[in-house]
Subunit: 180 residues, 2 copies
């Protein structure tokens, strides 16, 4: 598995059912959302800008894509919170030159943050995509794998920078709604 | 990672928060349970009996253990259903003689079945334990990995034997309650 194949398999519209486990409070939250993943041209202004931000050469990137999500939570009825459930981000893989099974992933905003963030990805020997993104005081780890071409699972967690405390874990089952 | 280390890390009492996603109906179910995992002596009558059932020599097994669970679901208030949430099973690893990262796992009953079932396990390069158990008309796949010594994640799914249809997926976050 390499990033080009993985992004290729991901293109399309997905119905996502996500459950977050808040480990400290033993509380869980359900979010239903629609996720659209589409390719973006390497010379798109958003791509050029993000590459410039990180000082990455366009020649080194691979299959940039855009992820757009719109969801509904069962948890917080507050309208301001609800709005954080929709968004869009451009992601740019920068594969390692020596090992195609790993690299960096640039994005213009993360799920949890509103600032740009770059993560490190690699594929395991069973083709699970693993992404680790470090923030100031926390790190996010995400594992995504395909069960079949129309179903993928995603397990995410946020942990403190020291790595010992895990605050939130979430599981998403994503089924393909439509090939775009 | 090998099965002896993995079982060793698993010994103890765990609080499990499990969410099942019923993919067809987009329905989810929460189960809170306590799971006890304890070593069993290789010459325990339950171990001897299960080895005999499968025609496995005692010399070929490794670290047999017992898993006992007791849980509460938010889904079905029917008392008979509730009773299926507690149970106990003996599990016996039979490591492959040439590759210690894989083997068979015997057990006297599965989660979903009341009959004995043997599964095939292996460890991925990021030390995720993967167990596949085939039944007559369905297969169960389970992935378990440790985030740290006191937290492990488990993703399970049941799929039809043809492998194309996935009916149920579940995610458990398990935190250590007490070292026994």
């Amino acid at each position: 598995m390499d990033i080009v194949t993985f992004v290729g398999q991901s293109i399309g519209r997905w119905r996502s059912q996500r459950t977050a486990h808040h480990l400290t409070f033993r509380h869980s939250e359900e979010v239903q959302s629609t996720i659209d993943i589409e390719e973006v041209e390497p010379d798109h202004p958003d791509v050029l800008k993000l590459c410039e931000t990180y000082g990455v050469a366009i020649a080194d990137i691979s299959t940039p894509f855009r992820m757009t999500w719109e969801g509904e939570s069962d948890w917080d009825e507050d309208e301001d919170e609800q709005q954080t459930l929709s968004g869009s981000t451009v992601l740019i893989p920068v594969p390692d030159k020596e090992n195609p099974r790993k690299g960096k992933l640039l994005r213009d905003q993360g799920y949890a943050e509103t600032i740009a963030a770059a993560g490190e990805y690699h594929f395991t020997d069973d083709d699970t995509f693993v992404l680790v993104t470090s923030y100031d005081r926390a790190a996010a780890e995400e594992k995504i794998w395909f069960v079949n071409p129309n179903l993928r699972f995603r397990v995410s967690m946020i942990k403190t920078s020291s790595g010992t405390g895990v605050l939130t874990a979430s599981f998403s089952s994503e089924t393909r709604a439509q090939v775009s």
